[in-house]
Amino acid sequence: MVRSQTVRAFVEEVGDIASFTGRFFREVFRPRYEWAELLRQSFINGYRSLPLVAVTAFIMGLVLTVQSRPTLERFGAESMLPLMVAISVVREIGPVITALICAGKIGSSIGAELGSMKVTEQIDAMEVSGTNPFKYLVVTRVVSTTLMVPVLVVFADAIAIYASYIGVNIKGSVSWSLFHQQVFDSLVFADFLPAFIKSFFFGFAIGIVGCYKGFNTKNGTEGVGQASHSSVVVASLVIFVIDLIAVQITDILGYN
């Protein structure tokens, strides 16, 4: 009985999110456009997330390089360290780790902010005052996360590759020129573009899940925390699902 209720609740929530997403696509192309709010959200979600993403990417690139070295040394393929790290970062680790960081920072922020507005009836007040709260609050946030996460991914890739250069030089000696040559000799558009395109979907998922959870907050202040927490969990899960679908599609298209 409990299980059937859980399954039913899950299915209902999936339906609600799909309905919420449909409403977003209906609202996003309709005027009036909230440019100022979109820029403000982009600043918050993009620019202010950069330090966290940069530190994470730097550590990720450095650790990946240092951890991969012993295995490659065993095969006598130490010289392939730059290209291996570059391909790993660009194809998978950069987009996914950045998206997860954003899901933690941005998703929880959106969920908590919209949740608190919901429980304090500010959203209802906006409707009464004639402002479309969905357009002002949801569309701007979802569009900003959709556009900012790919930019953060590009920064993360660049920083992680630079960190990899430092990691390679901790135990070896490779010039920046050679490192740069090896990295870009190994990378092709098929490595970069699918990963870049899927980062838009990651950003969209973070924004839409955070907004949905915040917009549907119940149970007062307790629900705000719950919305914040569940938006991170669901967004992270959706990121992995999108990644799974993306890798299948790129494989079908022959880019793997």
Partner: protein, 320 residues
């Protein structure tokens, strides 16, 4: 308001930074794939490309000069590889160059190696086709290596057996290591030398005889060299042949005669084999002898008879 402008500036820098990085990354990747440089396209037909993909590097004399543009299956035995070659490098590649598929290092990406061909050729131009040579296939090399290892194992096993036999004092090699064998072999060699001298002398004698025969000397030489003698011999052989036929007939007759002698019928058998008849004949002959003596006396007496005296006297006169 000032804060909002500051936020916009920072956001602009952030987005511009990301865009610049994105464009730079795309440009660097595109440069590696010769998307932004002038290039020509050449092609080469290969039997198989071993996993070569579009975008793989093309190398000439160990230097990257372009990338693989497209790979097309022409028929069941030919795969055509189109290569973009940078214009600056194309002038060094001749039309007699050879293309082969290789690997960047042992486990690296596949690439096309362009090798200088023999003789002279003109620099390649757009649309040219160059010849190809079969590439080294790692799988084939490993298969060959595996077969070689098997052969080596067999050879090593044989060598081990040979070594064991070499160490055995009872075999030939063991005998050779015996110090007394030297004298024996030396004596054998002396004997062989003497035998060879004899054989040489014998051969010389045979040669001399053969020379004499060829020169028509001696009986054999005459037989072999003289035409008249040959005719005589042929005739003699012919007569011998006739004589042998006659002899054969005679032998046949004698055989039949002897058989008839063996037979218990007929007069001859009776004469030859019948001992009673022989006794009778002997007795008869004895009697005949006696009778003849008596008859002689009678005849002498008859000659003196007067009736016949005249006849005998006339016969004496005729005889005179």
């Amino acid at each position: 308001m000032a804060e909002e402008r500051s936020q916009r500036s920072k956001l602009g820098l952030f987005v511009l930074g990301g865009t610049v990085l994105l464009v730079l990354a795309l440009y660097l990747m595109g440069t590696r794939k010769d998307l932004f440089s002038r290039s020509i396209t050449i092609s080469s037909d290969l039997r198989e490309v071993g996993g070569l993909r579009t975008g793989n590097n093309v190398r000439y004399a160990g230097i990257d000069v372009g990338t693989v543009d497209a790979i097309e299956i022409i028929n069941d035995t030919i795969v055509r590889v189109y290569m973009n070659i940078r214009m600056d490098d194309a002038e060094h590649i001749r039309t007699n160059a050879l293309a082969s598929v290789g690997t960047d290092g042992l486990i690296g990406n596949k690439l096309v190696n362009l090798l200088s061909g023999e003789g002279s050729g003109t620099p390649v131009s757009d649309g040219d086709a160059i010849r190809s040579v079969p590439s080294l296939d790692t799988d084939a090399m490993i298969r060959t290596l595996d077969r070689t290892n098997g052969n080596l194992a067999a050879i090593t096993d044989d060598l081990r057996q040979v070594s064991a036999r070499l160490n055995d004092p009872n075999n030939l090699v063991g005998m050779l290591t015996d110090t007394s064998m030297g004298g024996v072999i030396r004596e054998a060699v002396y004997q062989l030398n003497a035998a060879a001298g004899n054989a040489r002398a014998l051969t010389e004698g045979v040669n001399s005889i053969v020379a004499d025969v060829e020169g028509g000397k001696g009986a054999l030489g005459v037989l072999l060299a003289d035409d008249a003698a040959e005719a005589d011999v042929r005739r003699m052989l012919s007569e011998l042949h006739t004589a042998s036929d006659t002899l054969g007939l005679a032998i046949g007759r004698i055989d039949r005669f002897s058989r008839s002698l063996e037979s218990d019928k007929g007069l001859v058998h009776t004469l030859v084999r019948d001992t009673a008849l022989a006794n009778d004949v002997q007795r008869m002959m004895t009697r005949l002898d006696t009778t003849t003596l008596l008859l002689n006396e009678d005849l002498r007496a008859l000659q003196r008879n007067w009736l016949l005296r005249k006849y005998f006297k006339e016969k004496e006169k005729q005889a005179k």
